[in-house]
């Protein structure tokens, strides 16, 4: 039990001063993800530019881990192509499942969540924004806000 593994300064920073938080005036994709068991709710908003995610925002309520993860996610994904998003998402998930993943330098903020893997019950908190984003991208054609519930 190293509490410091979990509540790193950078995580608390994101929690207290989240980046890209709030519903933007325009979004091509809107997805909401909730974990009813925890009461965590996250909304993800994406403005597209062709194959790229031009802007990513989030909103919602939850614990430090899920909100910090959402804040970091929006930050690292700005301007990334769908293919890059998929790759980063896969790497992040692998990291959360305890795999030893070497993230490129530009993703080092994400690295700070590595310690979450040691707290099995909190892994789903960190994954919630990512799962929500994936769901939004997968249902882009829906033309409306989609939602997913996770456990």
């Amino acid at each position: 039990m190293q509490l410091n593994d979990l509540y790193k300064e950078i995580i608390l920073d994101h929690y207290e001063s989240p980046h890209n938080r709030g519903r933007p005036p325009h979004a091509d994709i809107e997805a909401e993800g909730s974990n009813p068991l925890c009461g965590d709710d996250v909304e993800v908003y994406v403005a597209l530019d062709g194959e790229c995610l031009k802007e990513v925002h989030f909103d919602g309520s939850g614990c430090a881990i899920s909100l910090a993860a959402a804040s970091m996610m929006t930050e690292v994904l700005q301007g990334k192509s769908r293919e890059e998003v998929r790759q980063i998402s896969d790497q992040f998930k692998a990291m959360m499942h305890g795999e030893d993943v070497a993230l490129p330098e530009e993703l080092e903020d994400l690295e700070s969540l590595k310690g979450v893997a040691n707290f099995p019950l909190r892994v789903k908190c960190a994954l919630l924004p990512w799962v929500t984003l994936e769901h939004g991208l997968a249902n882009e054609d829906a033309g409306q806000r989609v939602s997913i519930e996770v456990e």
Binding site: Y7, Y15, E16, C63, F119
Partner: protein, 417 residues
């Protein structure tokens, strides 16, 4: 009232309370989820499996007769504990949840019809809510709700509007597992009976913590769990009035619950066997009997008094924590040893996580009461819940843990200024 036991002596009976977590003594404050077990209960299990483990009923050999006698003696103990008129009113199931589902299937299907009404409350545990949702949907009946006020009490002024001649059942919790509210169930039963409605009490949080007398309350059904009252996991109890049990259809079919079985039809055993199909959870039922003995020895009046005292102490200490919001009734006498709270700027999950680093075990989440969370407009709460072995020092450890959480999170706040 006085507490007739010494909490430090009592703690010696619970081996787990001597253990450590992260090198610190365990402070177990999640008793509403499940209680710890005294040595006597553990010994009962070991004794059964090493001395007279055998299937019950109809085994014409010594250890089977011993097992049968002990199993039925446990039934009698439980009956006496809640002052049931006879052991036959006691059905052993897995947990409170199964007890309530049994009533849904074996009583509900025949007694709640289209346009009939079931009245429950907004503070029910999912186990006393979802079965009635399902029954109502199945039968085309109406599910109605007693609301909860800001203090966490049932708004009983609404009662006379909500109850009608069509109300077949009122299913309500005796004590809220989130708010600690002790509901005035005797009055509810009285009114219900005037309208010809039956009353099911979810006693999961009352029977373990205070004297409960089913004949005095006059409820028709009462459900509770052994694991919350020092018994092992895997045993719950349904009490029901004898004439109801007699008239109800069986729930599960199988061994022991039958009298005569032909190829295409069967007749049923008398109650309680009619509702105990298959091999029962013999060892755990007998150990629940040991738990009942242990509690009776302490005396349920004393148990209740100790919990009132520790709850008062905790309420006083917690109120001093800045930025805390406490839920539940303000008046001590109508609340139990369950305190839910939220803390400004620290999510309940993070509270629980940080408390765990101090070996303090509390629960964070919706506590199987999602509608109640919505009622109070919170996604989750943290909850500390007490039992006979809870000490003031443990409450102090909780409060210190909350300060630690505020330090960790407050630090971030400062830096972000």
């Amino acid at each position: 009232m006085e507490v007739n036991f010494d909490v430090h002596a009592v703690r010696q009976d619970f081996p787990i309370l001597g253990t450590q977590v992260h090198g610190k003594p365990l402070v177990y404050l999640d008793n509403a989820a499940t209680s710890q077990k005294p040595q006597a209960v553990i010994d009962s299990l070991v004794h059964f499996y090493t001395r007279y483990n055998a299937n019950v009923h109809r085994g014409i050999y010594t250890i089977s007769e011993q097992a049968t006698a002990a199993y039925e003696e446990a039934r009698a103990k439980v009956a006496r504990f809640i002052n049931a008129p006879s052991p036959e009113c006691i059905i052993f199931v897995r947990n409170t949840t199964e007890a309530i589902n049994l009533v849904r299937y074996a009583w509900g299907s025949d007694n709640v019809g289209a346009d009939d009404e079931i009245l429950i409350s907004e503070m029910e545990h999912h186990s006393n809510l979802v079965p009635w949702q399902l029954l109502a949907q199945e039968q085309g009946a109406d599910l109605r709700f007693l609301r909860v006020n800001n203090e966490g009490r049932l708004m009983l002024d609404g009662f006379d509007v909500l109850i009608t001649e069509k109300t077949r059942l009122i299913a309500v919790t005796h004590v809220s597992n989130v708010l600690g509210t002790v509901n005035p169930v005797k009055g509810i039963v009285k009114k219900a009976h005037k309208y010809g409605a039956l009353v099911l009490l979810d006693a999961a949080q009352s029977v373990p913590h205070m004297p409960v007398d089913v004949q005095d309350i006059d409820c028709d059904f009462l459900a509770f769990s052994g694991h919350k009252m020092m018994g092992p996991t895997g045993v719950g109890v349904l009490y029901a009035k004898p004439h109801l049990l007699k008239s109800m259809r069986p729930f599960m079919g199988g061994g022991s619950m039958i009298r005569k079985v032909m190829l295409t039809e069967s007749t049923w055993a008398d109650v309680p066997q009619k509702f105990e199909a298959g091999t029962p959870n013999i060892a755990d039922v007998i150990a629940l009997g040991a738990a009942v003995d242990y509690l009776s020895e302490l005396g349920m009046e004393s148990v209740r008094e100790h919990e009132l005292q520790i709850t008062q102490y905790a309420l006083d200490k917690l109120r001093e924590v800045s930025g805390i919001k406490l839920f539940g009734p303000w008046e001590l006498q109508t609340r139990a040893g369950v305190i839910s709270f939220v803390l400004d700027g620290v999510h309940p999950h993070d509270i629980a996580q940080i408390l765990d680093s101090e070996a303090v075990a509390v629960r964070a989440g919706h506590h199987c009461c999602q509608p109640l969370m919505r009622r109070f407009n919170v996604p989750a709460t943290a909850r500390a819940s007490f039992y006979v072995y809870t000490t003031e020092q443990e409450v102090d450890a909780l409060v210190q843990g909350l300060h630690k959480a505020q330090r960790i999170f407050g630090h971030a706040v400062e830096r972000s200024l």
